[in-house]
């Protein structure tokens, strides 16, 4: 059963893409030696790349482009927008929502450790005065981290809380790099605020 979207077919893992003698396995496909057949290993669109003229092997390369591959993936060094989900004594966890200017297609978790919140006096950082659950923060990815989460950092002036809701429920206005104020009640709450600007 072949489903077509436009002029490319959608394939599922295990579907036969061609014989090993006729096609070469590219990304998202693999060659099974038992019966010399190329199968798909991802769900996505099948695309055939014609062989380059100077290579000796004249077989076309068949690839499967997964739908998740269309979404951006955080890389070390890029700036991401994340929503803080949990604040603990030594770190805060956040859900990464955008990489650069593009929204992600799948869930990525990030962790902001106590020593990565700001650049000065890193051992005196109080996580509760820097972030609260629900804040939107701009952070940079330091590393791929462990299996559970990326490691994020807000240790620059332009990074930190971009938007936050006060305890009364209204969006707060930044008044300094450590404080934000609620416009309806006038209450001031501490946050690590990102410098506004481009």
């Amino acid at each position: 059963m072949q489903e077509t979207v436009g002029d490319e077919e959608i394939v599922t893992p295990g579907e036969v893409l061609g014989k090993g003698t006729e096609v070469k396995a590219g990304r998202g496909a693999y060659l099974s030696r038992e019966n010399n057949t190329v199968y798909a290993s991802l769900t996505g669109r099948r695309s055939v790349v014609p062989p380059s003229s100077e290579s000796t092997d004249q077989r076309p390369i068949v690839e499967v482009i997964g739908h998740k591959a269309h979404g951006p993936v955080p890389e070390p060094g890029c700036v991401v927008i994340a929503r803080v989900t949990k604040v603990m004594a030594r770190m805060a966890s956040a859900d990464i929502m955008c990489v650069g200017a593009k929204a992600v297609r799948e869930k990525f978790s990030g962790i902001i450790r106590q020593q990565d919140v700001r650049a000065t006096e890193i051992d005196k950082v109080d996580m509760h005065s820097s972030f609260r659950p629900g804040d939107i923060v701009k952070a940079s990815v330091i590393s791929l981290g462990d299996a559970r989460a990326y490691y994020l950092s807000t240790a620059q002036n332009e990074l930190g809380v971009v938007s936050a809701e006060s305890m009364a429920g209204t969006t707060m206005v930044p008044i300094s790099w450590t404080e934000m104020q609620c416009p309806s009640t006038g209450q001031i709450e501490p946050r690590k605020v990102a410098k506004a600007g481009a």
Partner: protein, 262 residues
């Protein structure tokens, strides 16, 4: 002679019912009923448009809604001079706040913390090193279900509360494991009454006749220990029963109880 009471009453009524005095009289009546009646959520207790240039300190259970101060929690309104107002209520659930001494039950052990249940919305963390002379080498081993008397260090909203078994100077004080005895559940109001400064009548009366030790946690738990378990049961039940009795009834109950144990 019989005309003068009527005239006096007439004059009194005239004084009270004149417009300026009426407002004053009404306000006195309201204040009088405010501090003796139980407030329910939604009651407006103060109208700020009449009071200019005053700073009020609002404690728990009160909220400013534009120009009026409304009650958020059911309970008794309390006032402390010069300008503090708060609502005192009694619940079975506890809202953790920094500085409270509570009774917690260990539910899990992690490499860095013990997870302790203190009857709050979230489990509290007790760092393994927060004991007097605590180092990585002598971490106490608590089984699941151990009862501890601990102090809340901080209880920020959205985070798990943090506990410690040391006082502010780093000494063990009275904190730590409570061995033997039995723990009873109560409400937060009863815990506050047991800890209040003119001692609780039932507690004082029982203390004169029986010998037992008691630890009260402000989170609605108290622990009693005595040489005989019949004493523990007696004290625990007496305290739990006394919550719903007025002062006079408590004295009567206490007398009956003390007579029956002899």
């Amino acid at each position: 002679m019989e005309a003068s009471p009527v005239k006096f009453v007439d004059q009194l009524v005239v004084i009270i019912l004149s417009p300026e005095n009426l407002l004053f009289f009404m306000r006195i009546c309201i204040l009088f009923s405010l501090f003796f009646a139980i407030q329910v959520p939604g009651d407006v207790i103060l109208d700020l448009s009449n009071m200019a240039n005053q700073t009020l300190k609002l404690g728990g259970g009160l909220r400013q809604d534009g120009d009026s101060i409304c009650v958020m929690k059911a309970g008794k309104l309390r006032f402390m001079k010069p300008n503090k107002y708060w609502v005192e209520s009694s619940q079975k659930r506890y809202v953790p706040s920094a500085g409270d001494n509570v009774l917690g039950v260990v539910v899990d052990t992690k490499p860095e913390n013990f997870l302790v249940d203190i009857k709050g919305p979230a489990l509290a963390f007790l760092p393994v090193l927060s004991f007097e002379g605590g180092t990585r080498r002598n971490i106490p081993k608590f089984e699941v279900g151990t009862l501890l008397y601990v102090r809340v260090v901080n209880a920020n909203t959205g985070m798990n509360p943090e506990l410690t078994c040391m006082d502010a100077n780093g000494k063990a004080a009275e904190y730590g494991v409570l061995k033997d005895g039995y723990m009873f559940e109560s409400s937060t109001g009863l815990s506050r009454m047991l800890l209040s400064s003119p001692p609780h009548p039932v507690l004082e009366g029982l203390g004169k006749k029986l010998s037992f030790e008691i630890a009260v946690g402000i989170n609605g738990r108290f622990w009693v220990n005595a040489s005989q378990s019949s004493t523990v049961i007696l004290v625990g039940n007496a305290i739990q029963k006394s919550e719903s009795l007025s002062l006079v009834q408590q004295k009567i109950y206490l007398e009956k109880l003390l007579k029956s144990i002899q």
